[in-house]
Amino acid sequence: MSDTVLQVRDLEVTYRAKQDDVAAVRGVSLTVDAGETVALVGESGSGKSTTALAVAGLLPARAAVTGALEFRGRDLTQVGRRERRSVLGVGIGLVPQDPTVSLNPVRRIGDQVAEVLLIHRRARRSQARAAAVEALAAAGLDDPAIRARQYPHELSGGMRQRVLIAIALIASPALLIADEPTSALDVTVQRQILDRIGDLVQRNGTGLLLVTHDLAVAADRADRIVVMSQGRIVEDGPVEQILRDPAHPYTRSLLDAAPALHLSGPVTAAPAPAGRPLLAVRGLVKAFPVPGRKAAFRAVDAVDLDVAAGRTLGLVGESGSGKSTTARLALRLIDPTAGSVVFDGVELAGLPAARLRELRRRFQLVQQNPYAALHPKLSVIDIVAEPLRSFGEDRRTARDRATELLDRVQLPAGTGARRAAELSGGQRQRVAIARALALQPDLVVLDEPVSALDVRVQAHILALLGDLQRDLAVGYLFISHDLAVVRQICHDVAVMYRGRIVETGSAGKIFADPEHEYTRRLLAAVPGTAVR
């Protein structure tokens, strides 16, 4: 039988702070066997990352840790610092979350990989360098010898994550901890990285503790799933059991809210398109000059789009596809290099500023980052009233209307008096939606409005957006990188790749029968195939 690589017993982690102590992990116990993949699933604040970092010994000094962390039978909480360090890197490997900030920017890639062996005196300098190149190749990096001489900023996000995998696995550790290894990556790259980790782990019989917020990813990759909420383990069992017959209501709510697990359900019904489109974009181009090159960089390259009144168009693409730029162009927040944007029959280019401003009442914006999209110093009610005040409404009327809107987005009474810093991400996004509705627009452009939110909060916000559309007959241009989310809420879909639209169609058609190769690749990369 397989032997146990990691056994956690009654782990408790408390962060000491000046005001109150925060209990991040309360009595967590789990095991990982050799060759087994255990997924640790939970929303933010659940304590999953803290648990993983506790095993790796990377918690800050103000974290008080009690309980047993047995790695191959040795309790790491009972040994000295030096012995702890002798285990890290060679016994336990860690793949961190964000590859763009996890590599030292001023040292070469090869050095950073070889360092593992040099720290633990497993090899001499020249041997370590050669081993580093091999590890980079095993992680799937092309031209590993050349990459080893390069610096992190010369590599893409996916390539950097492969470097981090090489660092974690070069010494063939018995346990690999992957802390949300793909959340900062594009979905097509995510699949490749997870595949690669899976291969390497299987080949070496490594135990894998995979921390993720994404239940679909866990479904695809894990043998067992451990669900955490608010510092405690809520449920723990084999993957099939958790997915088909979850015992705990929290697990059930996570399953219900995860869009990737419902890709085979019915698509939202839509009102039939009537008359001319609300927003018609033709041949839109935005080019940025590149210093030192003759050809300019085309972020948006001859894009055609239609948004019908009362319907939702989903604009899907990975990072760098140009979708955010397209949104700004549609709202005339930036000027296009070429092409036309026609709103309700009016061409926006060349409009005098005053006329454009008047028209702005009818199309509004909800942005991606709820933590930066609200004025830090105004009270919530003033934030929502601000667009009305900009157009000359007096304070009383504007505030009354704002109160109505806050109610409509289902925020509790009294939220209006608070400030943005006191609200959660989901609440802030509701405020942003209320603000966007203040001027009674016909079209709302939403730029990744739920990407920064936990999955259950996401589900609530999407439901809210659906309700608002039905009640107010407002059209949405919904921008997202997440196909599963798009399917839940969009009637029509346009797929964008490197500045161009590669496919458009109704949601049902795109998902059931994609034509373009890129669309197919995107669909295949959505995690959760094991369940579908």
Binding site: A56, I119, I167
Partner: protein, 317 residues
């Protein structure tokens, strides 16, 4: 690379010219007739005709643009005018004081870097919070102490009471020590503050955690990883630091009665000797520009993310 070099050199020249112009504007264009100032130093009883003759001989009866251009032309040929106090050429006066001040500034810079970096590294590297707190309380103290006061106290203790160092003059290395320490203290405090903040910032970065996850000792994380990153922002203020040391020399040389550019500046200001002051300002700007140029050339070698190309803003969306 050569294009970049040429561009930076061009910028440096422009800055120098602009600094000279600013000094010229301040000194010559502000209220206060230069002749009256000059005559004010000597006794009264000068007739208007004599005053006019003096003005003409100094070229002050010309319209301003002419004065400016003639001054600029002379400066370009290395003629910075002559001192109003003693009639000697400004360039000669600068050259005479340069060596002494240079030695002083160099020693002060060395002390400042050693102590500043030492405190920062020790404070960030130690595990004991008490030591960290104690060390980090030193820089604000160093910044708050006036140079002239510190110099006098050092003079009192080490020169008068303990007779370890000479109180005045330029003789020998011993006379350099106390003034260099006086100069070095505020600068070392600045370096310590900046470096400790950058080091702590670096240690909080995710890539420092990656190093720890490899099993690296804290000293390795600090010296092998954090220091290289933290040193870069400190490098960018080198020009500012050298300028600070140069201007601090005015006070240090006065307190310790040393000859040098600082003392020259002080006596020139007291005598309102405009050409000398202008020459010194130009010299300080020249030093600043040269140091910054050196740093700009060195920086891309240390941080490969910075590419030595023109400042055309990257217009990524």
């Amino acid at each position: 690379m050569t294009g970049y070099l040429v561009r930076r050199l061009g910028q440096a020249v422009v800055v120098l010219w602009a600094a000279w112009t600013v000094a010229w504007l301040v000194l010559w264009a502000l209220p206060g007739d230069a002749v009256e100032v000059r005559l004010g130093i000597e006794a009264n009883g000068v007739t208007p005709e004599q005053a006019d003759a003096l003005r003409a001989s100094m070229g002050l009866d010309q319209p301003w643009p002419v004065q400016y251009l003639t001054g600029l032309g002379r400066a370009l040929t290395g003629d910075l005018g002559t001192s109003w106090e003693n009639g000697r050429p400004v360039t000669a006066l600068l050259a005479a004081g340069l060596q002494a001040t240079l030695a002083l500034t160099a020693l002060a810079l060395l002390l400042a870097v050693v102590f500043g970096a030492g405190i920062a590294l020790l404070a960030t590297g130690t595990r004991y919070r008490r030591l960290n707190r104690a060390l980090l309380n030193l820089p604000p103290l160093g910044v708050a102490v006036p140079g002239f006061w510190l110099g006098l106290i050092l003079l009192e203790v080490f020169s008068f009471r303990l007779s370890l160092f000479p109180a005045i003059g330029n003789e020998g290395f011993a006379s350099l020590v106390l003034p260099a320490v006086t100069l070095a203290v505020p600068t070392s405090a600045l370096i310590a503050q900046l470096l400790s903040r950058s080091l702590q910032d670096a240690l909080d970065q995710p890539w420092a955690d990656t190093a720890r996850a490899k099993g690296a000792r804290p000293s390795r994380v600090l010296l092998g990883h954090a220091l290289r990153n933290a040193a870069l922002p400190a490098l960018t203020i080198t020009g500012l630091i050298v300028g600070q040391l140069l201007s601090g020399a005015v006070v240090a040389e006065t307190v310790f009665s040393r000859t040098g550019l600082g003392r020259l500046t002080a006596s020139a200001v007291t005598a309102q000797d405009t050409p000398v002051v202008q020459g010194i300002v130009l010299f300080a700007a020249l030093v600043f520009v040269v140091v910054n140029l050196a740093v700009d050339l060195l920086y891309p070698l240390l941080d490969r993310r910075i590419v030595p190309r023109a400042a055309a803003k990257a217009s990524r969306p």
